[in-house]
């Protein structure tokens, strides 16, 4: 124990004097979390709070197009601006760029008259099918299509939901006209506004309930998503300092002396694991603290810590140990600091990409969806999201801890094999 204690003390002293290593392990991840959360928070707000700017070029002069514009405005997700109806596609695109609008819609000329004609035709068919006398002679042509312009930066999912919203507004206008025609054909007077509202306005409300393990309603936001994800990235990034430290020791003269002393090199490896596990836990504590206390002062949502703190500690310790094991594994098989830094940095980025830190793993397809299971970051991220977003408890993340633990043990096994093969133990 005395030897281990002396080695831990030596490693802590060297670590504290390595200013570059310390800033790589603490300053860079903190900056990363702040920058990424800020950027994603802006995107989150663009999608969830800010309305999407839409330019409407109305080439029609009738009522139906006005109703359509009003219906689009009522959806709530658009900030509607109208431009001169005489503009062509190129002018509309230019206007979108000038006004920072991500969407543009052209309502074709004669839209209202064609909607009215089609409504009367449908009403006539309906009356005939009811056994009443309907006007079936009038053949209505198809309504000319609306044209939707969009900025290519708009994500596929958002574009689809915009299309759906415009379609539902269009459906409302067409349904209103059909109902009015039907009512007029039967009663020979306009439909009362109250009845029209009752028939058209959707009375069934939808209650939106976030599905959490503990029943709490934690609103997902950029902070809740990014802080856990980039904390994992930071923990694995200790490879830059720890890997470098192992390789430096291996290629320095001190290593030759260590090999001649009556102590196993495993003591040195164990000491590094203990010291750097402490570093990873400290990294998580620092980043979480910044999320909780500093983010509100930076106009970012504060981080809500999970209710089960024991679970948070357990998964953080296991994740930290896994990160440290990976760093030592790479260092044992590297011959130079350049090798460990180059391979280490690139492999961490790849592991984080397939682990779902950059793109959610549920959005991945085929091979990469299965490959995510091989990344320790995937299991850790899944556990963090269960705790941070779903209000999960320790029992809910056991299925993440076990694979993470197995991967860590595998790393340890290969480390021992590597040390034996290189005659270091």
């Amino acid at each position: 124990m005395f030897k281990l204690g002396a080695t831990i003390l030596k490693d802590i002293r060297i670590l504290l004097r390595d200013k570059v290593g310390l800033s790589l392990m603490f300053l860079m991840p903190v900056l990363l979390v702040i920058v990424v959360t800020n950027i994603q928070n802006s995107t989150f707000q663009l999608v969830s709070k800010n309305k999407l700017s839409i330019l409407i070029c109305n080439r029609d002069t009738g009522q139906a197009s006005k109703q359509l514009i009003a219906a689009i405005g009522k959806i709530g997700m658009f900030k509607v601006s109208q431009i001169d109806g005489g503009q062509n596609g190129k002018q509309i695109a230019d206007a979108m760029h000038q006004q920072d609008a991500v969407l543009g819609v052209i309502i074709p000329a004669n839209f209202s008259s064609k909607v009215t004609a089609k409504s009367k035709s449908i009403a006539g068919k309906a009356l005939t099918s009811f056994g009443l006398q309907g006007d079936t002679l009038k053949k209505a042509g198809d309504i000319d299509p609306l044209t939707l312009y969009y900025n290519p930066v708009l994500q596929e999912s958002l574009r689809l939901s915009v299309g759906g919203a415009v379609r539902s507004a269009l459906q409302l206008v067409e349904s209103r006209e059909t109902l009015r025609s039907l009512y007029f054909s039967i009663n020979e007077k306009p439909m009362p506004q109250k009845l029209e509202d009752e028939m058209l306005n959707n009375k069934t409300t939808i209650n939106e309930v976030p599905v959490s393990k503990d029943g709490t309603r934690i609103t997902p936001n950029a902070t809740q998503h990014n802080v856990p994800a980039w904390t994992i990235f930071a923990m694995f990034f200790v490879i830059m300092s720890l890997g470098g430290s192992v390789v430096r020791e291996k290629i320095s003269g001190s290593f030759i002396r260590l090999k001649t002393l009556p102590t196993s090199y495993l003591v040195a490896i164990l000491s590094k694991q203990i010291v750097y596990l402490g570093v990873t836990i400290l990294q998580a504590a620092v980043i979480f603290s910044i999320g909780v206390w500093l983010f509100p002062f930076m106009n970012l949502p504060a981080l809500n810590l999970p209710s089960d703190m024991l679970a948070l500690v357990v998964i953080t310790v296991v994740c930290g140990w896994c990160a440290v094991s990976y760093a030592i594994l790479v260092a044992v098989f590297s011959k130079t600091q350049e090798q460990v830094n180059g391979f280490g940095a690139i492999s961490i980025v790849i592991l984080s990409a397939i682990g779902g830190l950059m793109v959610p793993s549920f959005a991945m397809q085929g091979f990469f969806r299965n490959a995510a299971n091989l990344s320790p970051m995937h299991w850790c991220l899944d556990a963090y999201y269960t705790l941070f977003l779903e209000g999960g408890k320790l029992k809910d993340i056991v299925n993440n801890i076990i694979p993470l633990f197995i991967i860590t043990l595998l790393f340890q096994f290969v480390i021992i094999l590597g040390l034996k093969r290189k005659n270091l133990i």
Binding site: A6, K10, R257, K259
Partner: protein, 251 residues
Amino acid sequence: MAINDPLAIAIENLGFRYPGNPDMLFTKLNLEVAKGERFGLFGPNGAGKTTLISLITGLLSANGGHIKLLGHEIGTRDHSVNKLFGYVPQDFSFYQELSPVENLEFFGAWSGLNKQAIKKRTDELLHILGLEDVRDKQIEKFSGGMKRRVNLAIGVIHDPEILFLDEPTVGVDVQTRHAIINYLLELNKQGTTLIYTSHQLSEAEGLCRQVALIDDGKIIAQNTLDNLLREYKQDNLEHLFLNLTGKEYRN
């Protein structure tokens, strides 16, 4: 560990070749060094000096034969035999980010000393080697001579029975060389066996009693320095060295 064996080092039929190299460097090499001896191992570059010391200290594993230090076989999994010797490599073998005291604390612990023994030996060694004033300063900023003294202090922290010295005074000024050689002679008087290797043959003449010359993996001469000079009719070690190993370059 019993250390009653009269021989500090006993090498018997040593065989060794580097992995990937089909040629044996050592074939049935034999060497004996008595306890308390001041033994110099000399040879041209590539002759096998460093490899032989690496085999004796367990840094390399032999392909055959036996190496015993004070009667204890080297190359087993038993680390306790490593307590018997100290090693002062040619390269600075310590942590330059740490101070002399911090290095001695760490290497003392790894050498099997307890806290009290480390403190006592640290104070003694820093005093003897003139490092008291810089005991808590980071070694990075030290001169070459100061670093050599730290290198030596770490090698003897645990008061070893046998001390291996690979170019212990290379690149130091006259004062530091003088201090180091005097300290080594003092250690030898107290019973430490010195195994010394260097290219500074004039320094070796003052330090070594027994000399072995190695070339191409073979011991080509071994005796006391006086006997060797007499036998080969040479007036100093350098002339003896050139006479036995030739004057052509070695790569």
